[in-house]
């Protein structure tokens, strides 16, 4: 996707750019006119303003976590703290067992991710590379599953989990998300790019399908596996509604559920914005870091599931 500019033959500016800025190309104007420059400046200004609106809440959260109560409640608001303090971190850790909730979220997210990596890849491989009766029906099922709103399942799922005694358990949090249709869809798209000749060669050599899948196909779709991991991990980490329903014991809360419960309990949080800002920061920091490093995979995954 983002490689498009380098693969287009004429060495103009990045593909799709209105005004070739760099090297002179045969097509288009040789040098940006003043009007074009002005327009470009306007675009940058507009985008920067938009970006500021998008990230201002994050900046505020990050800065507020280090403010004293006086500056937190100051009106007009103070953006940059004059005296930096980490007291809210200690305060929150005293009142809320953050490491436990962090670990709960992490465990659930890792288990959900591993399950999806295996199950979605298996079906994705079968749908892309194996010929078997019923394949088209299974694929239709996957597509249909993509369209069903999650809220439709909540009530019986809760009853089912109660009956299975899986409320307040990791299994109860993991199982409903262990094989997601969009993961199958994504893996199928990527598995299709594997050349059939390669798999045939392995089959001629007498390799079994599981071996071919695990040792030949899987290593070839590593970028797809990375994409899927990120999307699933993130979805699980941020999941709110199901963990809220499927846990009653505070010891099994995930981080978002714990923080939301804490925030709405005036006895505990004392209405202190500082602690809530710290808590929010702790929820988003891991994913924001991972996201910034691996953002290309995100966009690739979205584009793949979205368009092909």
């Amino acid at each position: 996707m983002s490689a498009a500019p380098t693969t287009t033959p004429p060495p103009t500016a990045p593909a799709g750019t209105n005004e070739p800025a760099g090297p002179v190309s045969s097509a288009g104007p040789a040098r940006p006119t003043p009007a074009a420059r002005l327009r470009k400046a306007a675009v940058y200004a507009l985008l920067s303003l938009g970006l500021l609106l998008m990230v201002a809440p994050f900046l505020w959260m990050g800065l507020s976590a280090f403010k004293t109560d006086r500056e937190l409640n100051a009106s007009p608001p103070v953006w940059i703290p004059t005296e930096w303090t980490t007291e809210h971190f200690g305060e929150l850790l005293d009142k809320l067992d953050v490491p436990l909730y962090f670990l709960n979220s992490l465990t659930v997210a890792v288990l959900v991710t591993l399950c999806n990596l295996v199950f979605c890849s298996m079906l994705g491989y079968a749908l892309a590379k194996l010929r078997f009766g019923g394949k088209n029906k299974i694929f239709a099922l996957v597509l249909a599953a993509l369209m069903v709103p999650g809220n439709l399942m909540l009530l019986p799922l809760f009853v089912l989990m109660s009956k299975l005694q899986l409320i307040d358990s990791y299994a109860g949090l993991v199982l409903p998300f262990a094989a997601q249709a969009f993961g199958v869809f994504l893996m199928r798209q990527f598995m299709q790019s594997i050349p059939d000749e390669l798999l045939e060669a392995a089959r001629i050599d007498g390799a079994r399908e599981w071996y071919i899948f695990w040792r030949i196909a899987m290593p070839l779709v590593k970028p797809a596996l990375a994409t899927l991991s990120i999307l699933i991990f993130l979805g699980s980490w941020n999941n709110f509604v199901w963990p809220l329903i499927a846990t009653n014991d505070p010891g099994k809360y995930t981080l978002p559920v714990a923080l939301a419960t804490f925030a709405t309990d005036p006895n505990q949080s004392d209405g202190s914005n500082g602690m809530l800002m710290v808590g929010s920061l702790l929820i988003i920091l891991p994913v924001l870091l991972v996201f910034m490093v691996l953002q290309r995979h995100f966009t690739q995954g979205l584009a793949t599931t979205g368009l092909k």
Binding site: R39, W60, M61, A179, V287
Partner: protein, 326 residues
């Protein structure tokens, strides 16, 4: 795991003799192994997904439908089969339930205003990012996408602060210039628009990324040709970009509509449906009836009404938007 590392050579000859005939229909290079092996492998590979799908998706979907015709309540959580069939009573009750009708209206409001805003702004940002600039593109993209990867709980904490009428960010900035901030979330007229703005902020990135992918799939030579023929930027956008972007537009509109018809998290964490039910959405109603009051049969009926509405609107959108391309 360790068994898979062996090339399984000893097992193979059983199925594929060297002289195994190609399958009927003779798809040459695929036919070296009997189709039956692939058939069995195909089903084995599908099994884990299908089992999980059956238990945690298909069963609940059917169960919701069945429950919607019963008086399923709290006691039935432990004893599901003692629920009584009451026919369409839940559904007829819904049609007279003023709260439910309000929630339908509110959901429609959210969709009708929210979807065009989200798709429109997302397209605008994508076009600017794709055509207007050549530097820091990744930087901008990451910034616009950041809210998508953020937990709703964290978003709620910050947005509550932004919108707080007494010591919030907007209130503070307003007082700087001598104005007083309205009580966004406490006002019946402003609560829903506030949630819509928040949702646009939160979902813009998804739409933007899809549009960028769509824009980059447009062959550059088409634009080049248009420009050589003297098309203005606006003409190029109207006559080339928009038509070629139709599939993406259709897709983003449909998924955003489905998402917004289901809207639950924003009102749940920000307003709990208030003030005076002005932000009560169908999903939130369903959640409350189901998990706060344990009127699960009734809540199931709500879920199915919403599901049918979503299906109908999706089909309608696919029809309308597809026809337009011709």
């Amino acid at each position: 795991m360790s068994t898979t590392t062996e090339p399984a050579a000893h097992a193979a000859p059983v199925k594929t003799g060297p002289g195994a005939p190609p399958p009927p229909g003779g798809a040459g290079r695929r036919g070296l192994r009997p189709v039956a092996v692939q058939h069995r492998a195909g089903w084995l590979f599908s099994t884990p997904f299908l089992v999980l799908f059956a238990v945690f998706m298909a069963l609940p979907i059917v169960a919701t439908l069945v429950m919607s015709f019963t008086d399923f309540g709290l006691r039935n959580v432990t004893d599901p089969f003692s629920a009584e069939f009451i026919g369409f009573e839940n559904y007829t009750k819904l049609m007279d339930d003023e709260k439910f009708l309000t929630s339908l209206f509110n959901t429609a409001y959210f969709v009708v205003v929210g979807v065009p805003l989200t798709v429109g702004v997302g397209l605008f940002v994508a076009v600017l990012l794709n055509n207007g600039i050549d530097r820091a593109r990744t930087f901008f993209r990451v910034g616009f996408y950041a809210p998508v990867v953020t937990s709703i709980v964290a978003i709620a904490v910050v947005w509550r602060f932004v919108l707080d009428p007494s010591d919030g960010l907007i209130a503070g900035l307003a007082s700087e210039v001598g104005l007083t901030s309205p009580d966004f979330l406490g006002s019946e007229a402003l609560a829903m628009p506030s949630l819509i703005v928040m949702a646009v902020w939160r979902n813009l990135g998804t739409v933007m990324v899809l549009f960028i992918a769509g824009l980059q799939a447009i062959p550059p030579d088409i634009r080049e040709a248009a420009r050589l023929d003297g098309a203005s930027t606006w003409q190029e956008f109207r006559r080339i970009t928009v038509p070629l972007l139709r599939p993406t537009m259709l897709y983003t509109t449909v998924i955003t509509t489905i998402g917004y018809l289901n809207v639950f998290e924003e009102p749940f964490v920000m307003t709990q449906g208030g003030p005076s039910n002005s932000t009560l959405t169908v999903s939130l109603s369903m959640y409350r009836e189901g998990f706060n009051f344990f009127h699960m049969g009734y809540a199931s009926a709500m879920a199915y009404v919403l599901f049918v509405v979503i299906m109908a609107i999706t089909v309608l959108q696919l029809r309308l938007l597809k026809d337009n391309t011709k």
